[in-house]
C-alpha cells in the first residue's frame, strides 16, 4: 500500500532541496545515469552552499560547481572518463571556491554502505597508505589527517585497517530507467551505488526516464532494487541524464558532453551555458526541443534499446503520466 508520488520536477526541487544541504547524486558514473536535469533546476533556483556527495563526478556536479552552487564536495572520481577533466569542478577546486575531499570508488561506496547500515564506520583495506588517507581538503592544516580515515585495530588479528566515515545525505536525487507512480524503480545497466545510496539518504527523489504500471514491478520484482517504501517523490523526465546516457533509452551525446565541458571551463562560458541550457526551457517539451528532436531521435537509436523490450508494454505515454501526476507537470 503506497501513495502516488508523482510530482513535477519543479515541485520536487522546491520541496526537496535547500541551501546548505548535503546533496547526493552521482551514485552513477560520469557517462551514465544521473539526474542531470535535477542539477539544472538547482542552478535555475540558485541553490547555494551545497555539500555535494557524488560517488563520481558527473556533468551535474561539473555544472553545479561551475555555477558556484557547491562549497564542499566528496568524490571517488572527479573526472569525466574519456571526456577528460571536469572543467567546471576543476576550476572551482583550483580557485579554492570548492573544497574537494578525495576518496576512491570503493571507499565512497563503502561509506554509503556504512550510512545505510547506520554503522559508525566501515572497515577499509583500501585508501590506506596513500595520500587519500593522509590529506584532507576539509582539514587542510592537519598533516597527516587524523580524522579522515583513521585506523582501527581488528580485534581478531591485531591488524590495522582503515575506518571510513558513513555518508547519510540529506537528499539523494537518483536516476532510474523505470518507476511506477508509487516509487518502485528499475535500473537498467550498472546500478553503480544507487542501491546503497537509496538506503543511505534521508530522502530519495527518483527521476525516471519512463513511468510504468505497478504491474510491471509485480512481473519483475527482482529488478525492483528501489522499493516504494523508501521513496519520497517520483519525477517523470525523459532524457533526464542528457547529455549522459541511459541504457535502454539513449546514448551519450558526445558533441554536447564536449561542448558543455568546454563551456564550464570559464565563468563566461558557464554563464552562456546556463542561459541556454538551464534557463532555456520552461517545461518538458521545451527541454526536449532544446536538446533537439533530431538529436533525440539519433541518441535513441542505441545499441542497448533491446534492454527495454520486456518492459515496453507497461510504459505510459506522456499524456497518461500527466493525467497521473498529483502536482502540475512542468
Amino acid at each position: 500500500m503506497s501513495r502516488n508520488k508523482l510530482i513535477s520536477l519543479a515541485e520536487a526541487v522546491e520541496r526537496h532541496s535547500w541551501d546548505g544541504m548535503q546533496y547526493a547524486s552521482g551514485a552513477s558514473l560520469p557517462v551514465g545515469s544521473d539526474t542531470i536535469v535535477f542539477g539544472r533546476e538547482l542552478v535555475r533556483r540558485q541553490r547555494r552552499d551545497l555539500h555535494a556527495l557524488f560517488h563520481c563526478n558527473t556533468q551535474q556536479l561539473n555544472l553545479l560547481a561551475a555555477a558556484g552552487a557547491v562549497s564542499k564536495a566528496e568524490c571517488g572520481f572527479s573526472g569525466l572518463e574519456v571526456f577528460g577533466f571536469a572543467n567546471g569542478l576543476r576550476r572551482a577546486v583550483e580557485t579554492g571556491q570548492l573544497a574537494l575531499e578525495d576518496y576512491s570508488n570503493l571507499s565512497f561506496g563503502l561509506r554509503l554502505l556504512a550510512g545505510a547500515l547506520n554503522w559508525p564506520f566501515a572497515p577499509s583495506t583500501v585508501n590506506i597508505g596513500s595520500d587519500i588517507q593522509w590529506r584532507s581538503a576539509f582539514a587542510p592544516d592537519e598533516t597527516p589527517a587524523r580524522h579522515k580515515i583513521p585506523t582501527v585495530t581488528d580485534p581478531f588479528s591485531g591488524r590495522e585497517v582503515g575506518a571510513l566515515s558513513p555518508l547519510k545525505p540529506d537528499v539523494a536525487a537518483i536516476h532510474v530507467s523505470l518507476a511506477d507512480p508509487l516509487g518502485n524503480a528499475i535500473m537498467l545497466g550498472t546500478e553503480w551505488s544507487r542501491f546503497e545510496l537509496s538506503r543511505a539518504a534521508k530522502k530519495v527523489v527518483l527521476i525516471a526516464d519512463a513511468i510504468v504500471d505497478t504491474a510491471c514491478m509485480r512481473q519483475f520484482p527482482n529488478l525492483v532494487r528501489i522499493p516504494d517504501i523508501i521513496v519520497e517523490a517520483v519525477v517523470y523526465w525523459p532524457f533526464a541524464a542528457w547529455p549522459q546516457s541511459s541504457p535502454g533509452f539513449y546514448d551519450v551525446d558526445e558533441a554536447h558532453m564536449k561542448a558543455m565541458n568546454k563551456a564550464l571551463a570559464t565563468p563566461e562560458g558557464t554563464e552562456a551555458y546556463i542561459g541556454r541550457y538551464v534557463d532555456g526551457y520552461t517545461d518538458l517539451d521545451g527541454y526536449l526541443d532544446m536538446i533537439g528532436r533530431d538529436t533525440i531521435e539519433q541518441l535513441s537509436r542505441t545499441g542497448t534499446a533491446f534492454l527495454l523490450d520486456p518492459f515496453r508494454q507497461w510504459i505510459k505515454t506522456p499524456e497518461e503520466v500527466r493525467a497521473l501526476a498529483s502536482g502540475d507537470a512542468r
Binding site: G32, C75, E81, S104, T125, V126, G129, S136, T190, S245
Partner: protein, 274 residues
C-alpha cells in the same frame, strides 16, 4: 631525443606508439585471468588480449559489467552503452571493486597514471606549484586532475597491476606529488605495513618501453624497449636515474595477428591517432 623526431620516425611504422603500448600491455594478461580494466587505453589493451591470445580471460569493469565486449568503438566510460549492449551481468561498484577486487580475487588490473614514480606509485589527483609536492599542509593544486577513481582499489587489491602511461619526463618522477594509488610506497616491503592483499604493480608499460620492479628494492628498472625507441631515449624521458636491466631487450614487434585483433577492438581507430 625529441618527441617530434620520434613521431617523424613513427610515420614509417605500420602501427602507432599507442598501439605498441596497448599490445605490450595486452601481452601481460594471461588466459583465464580475472581482469579488471579502466576506461580508455586500459580497456582497449584488455579486450585486445581477449581477442588475441587470451580468449578465456574473465573480464570486468569497475562498474560491475561482466561478459561484455565493446561495440561501436572505444567506450566513453566503463558504463557506456558501448560496453552495456552485450553484457551478461550488471551489478554494482561494491561488487566489482569490493567483492571481486578488494577481496583479492582479481588476478590483474590495468590502470593509467598522470604521474608515476620509481616505486610505481601513481598520481592522478593533482599537480602542485613549486617543487610539485603538496607539502606539509594540504594546499590547492595548480592543476586538479581526476582523483583516484577505482585505481586506488585496484592498486591495493589486484594480484598484479599494470600501469599504462605516456612516456614523458614530467610524468616519471622520483617521487609523485600525491600518491593517489599505491605502488610500492617507499619501496622494499612497505606494502606489507598496510596488509594489501594485491601484489603491487608488475609492470609499467609506456609509449617507449616496459619497466619492472626490482624484486628486493621494488625500484622500477628498464626491462625492454620498443623497436622504435632506445635505452637512451627512455632514460632521457624518465625523471629518475633509471637503472637498466643487464637482460634488457627489445620488445617483439606487433604481429599481424595482434594488430588485426587490436584494430577489431579499436573499431573507431582511437589508438591510430598519432
Amino acid at each position: 631525443m625529441s618527441t617530434d623526431l620520434a613521431q617523424a620516425a613513427d610515420a614509417d611504422l605500420p602501427y602507432t606508439r599507442q598501439e605498441m603500448m596497448a599490445i605490450a600491455t595486452g601481452r601481460e594478461l594471461h588466459d583465464g585471468d580475472l581482469a579488471i580494466f579502466g576506461v580508455g587505453l586500459s580497456m582497449l589493451a584488455g579486450y585486445f588480449a581477449q581477442a588475441c591470445h587470451a580468449p578465456n580471460i574473465r573480464t570486468m569493469t569497475e562498474g560491475g559489467v561482466y561478459g561484455a565486449t565493446p561495440v561501436g568503438g572505444l567506450p566513453w566510460g566503463i558504463e557506456c552503452n558501448r560496453i552495456s549492449s552485450n553484457a551478461t551481468s550488471f551489478t554494482n561498484a561494491l561488487d566489482a571493486l569490493g567483492f571481486l577486487v578488494a577481496s583479492g580475487r582479481c588476478d590483474v588490473g590495468i590502470i593509467g597514471a598522470a604521474q608515476v614514480d620509481k616505486f610505481g606509485n601513481v598520481n592522478t589527483t593533482g599537480i602542485w606549484d613549486g617543487d610539485g609536492i603538496i607539502g606539509d599542509s594540504y594546499r590547492l593544486p595548480k592543476t586538479r586532475l581526476t582523483g583516484a577513481g577505482g585505481a586506488n582499489d585496484i592498486a591495493c587489491g589486484a594480484g598484479r597491476v599494470i600501469i599504462m602511461v605516456t612516456h614523458e619526463a614530467k610524468r616519471f618522477a622520483d617521487k609523485v606529488s600525491y600518491i593517489s594509488s599505491p605502488g610500492y610506497l617507499d619501496g622494499g616491503d612497505a606494502r606489507a605495513r598496510h596488509g594489501f592483499i594485491g601484489g603491487g604493480p608488475s609492470a609499467i608499460v609506456t609509449t617507449l618501453g616496459i619497466m619492472r620492479p626490482d624484486p628486493e628494492t621494488k625500484e622500477f628498472f628498464l626491462d625492454a624497449w620498443y623497436p622504435f625507441s632506445s635505452v637512451e631515449e627512455i632514460r632521457a624521458s624518465t625523471g629518475w636515474d633509471l637503472k637498466v636491466s643487464p637482460d634488457a631487450h627489445v620488445v617483439p614487434e606487433p604481429t599481424a595477428k595482434e594488430l588485426a585483433a587490436l584494430r577489431r577492438v579499436d573499431e573507431t581507430g582511437m589508438l591510430r591517432k598519432k
